[in-house]
């Protein structure tokens, strides 16, 4: 047995654990989302299956798994199935480079941020393919909205991450995580408040969550790009949405909130605690704010976030040069 064979085994084990994490995350978050939506609207939320409805999502998953897949008439069969598959599979790769604790990373590489951004592009393509292949006007409009939205919001998001990368001189998530101290005033949110604000807004645009969930827009487009999907096709798109929520929360935690560092010892608990906090924040915003109009959505991005992001990047570069 060669010691380097361990590298391969480590990758396989990490991928398995990531799949477990992704599925567990959606099961828990769907329940939490419905429960929180209930509390915000002064009703109990799911209550029947198990104590306080905690088994509701598991029952729902069984329903989705066993549901008949209905093909819309005259659709492109190949692309119709490719869409949902393409939306979830690149997600697993992106979690490989996330440092859950200072030593717990699936794959250590100096290009980890670039890897995540590269595979994030597949998400937009998956939505487009699914929406187009459905042969449905609502799906197509949803897909067209998704494309202009994700392309637009990717730019300020990258600019916000780049400012932090400039500050630490690396694209390595492990190094950025390690460069922050245990106490909140040593985190990047203090040195990069503008970048954090830009990230916080773009987070909703990138994950297609309310108030920026125009590609779905139930009241206008029935179900948006996944109108025609039932059963597992819908489940995979749904899984991808919750997984991208988890991913941006992890990125926000590592880039701005100190990652696994925290008072009383660094570790995996701090990463998950902060990530959970960000996810609850996303849900809270969804049930608090109304959906924006599409022109407003694009105007916020191109007229405010992009110039602010460039300004922030320029300021960071200037300050780093002087120091």
């Amino acid at each position: 047995m060669d010691i380097n064979l361990l590298v391969v085994i480590k990758l396989l084990v990490s991928l398995t654990l990531i799949i477990v994490l992704v599925v567990a995350n959606s099961v828990i978050m769907v329940w939490l989302e419905r429960k929180m939506a209930g509390f915000i609207q002064r009703r109990p939320g799911p209550y029947e299956v198990g104590p306080h409805g905690i088994f509701q999502t598991i029952v729902d998953s069984v329903k989705l798994l066993t549901k008949q897949i209905i093909l819309p008439g005259n659709c492109d069969r190949l692309l119709f199935f490719l869409g949902p598959i393409l939306s979830i599979f690149p997600m697993f790769l992106m979690f490989l480079v996330i440092p859950f604790s200072p030593w717990l990373t699936g794959l250590k590489t100096e290009l980890s941020l670039l890897l995540i951004l590269a595979f994030a592009g597949f998400e937009g393509l998956a939505v487009l393919i699914g929406g187009w292949a459905s042969n449905n006007k609502f799906s197509l409009i949803g897909a067209a909205r998704a494309v202009s939205q994700t392309v637009a919001y990717e730019i300020p998001l990258i600019l916000a991450f780049l400012a932090v990368a400039f500050q630490h001189g690396t694209l390595d998530l492990v190094a950025i995580n390690a460069a922050q101290g245990a106490w909140p005033w040593q985190w990047n949110i203090v040195t990069q408040p503008l970048a954090f604000l830009i990230f916080l807004i773009c987070m909703f645009g990138e994950t297609n969550r309310a108030p920026f969930d125009l590609p779905e827009g139930e009241s206008e487009l029935t179900g948006g790009y996944h109108t025609e999907y039932s059963g597992m096709g819908f489940a995979l798109y749904f899984l991808a949405e919750y997984t991208s929520m988890l991913l941006v929360s992890f990125l926000g935690t590592i880039f701005f909130l100190g990652g696994s560092e925290g008072p009383g010892g660094a570790g995996v608990w701090w990463t998950f605690l902060k990530t959970g906090g960000l996810m609850i924040f996303i849900i809270w915003v969804r049930w608090t704010y109304p959906r924006v109009r599409f022109d407003q959505l694009l105007n916020i991005n191109w007229k405010w976030l992009l110039p602010l992001g460039l300004l922030n990047l320029w300021l960071t570069a200037a300050i780093m040069k002087v120091l």
């Binding site: 005259n74 100096e110 670039l114 590269a118």
Partner: protein, 184 residues
Amino acid sequence: MTSQFLMALSLPEAAHNILAYTAFTFYIVLIISGGLVAALSRILVRALVGLAVTFLGVAGLYLLLASPFLAFMQLLIYVGAICILIFFAIMLVKNTGSGEEMRLPGLGQITGALIAALTPLALFGPLIVLNTNGTAELPIITPLMEIGSGLLSYYILPFELISIVLLVAMTGSIFLAWDKRFKK
């Protein structure tokens, strides 16, 4: 990363070679089949998916050359941005329900396409076959820092020239859009 990964396995050289050639063949098959789909499909969106598969294969070849930076940039820019923009352009043209936008090409078009494809092959093919000592035995891994400082010192002129080309393209597109808006 594939090559780093292969090196990390520290297998005997024969097994090493077999693995490398398998990966290489896989990527080449991806590139060629994707290209064929892109060229021959009568449905524009399927042609675009074929193009995306080709880009994926090219990214894989970059990984095999131990340049993960280029590979990820290829995915980020070509799959993540260019493909999506082409998709947007497809949505702006008139679509039929079945998505079949193209007639079957005529004989003249097919001969033209064949000539256009075979000319570079005839010109560069012999050169490539005759001069095969271009690559090193094992690819050299360049750290990201070196790529960055290289682009801003030794390779600054090509880097800036490419920026100017992009700037001109962007100014042109803004100018076109501006003109249209002004006439309204």
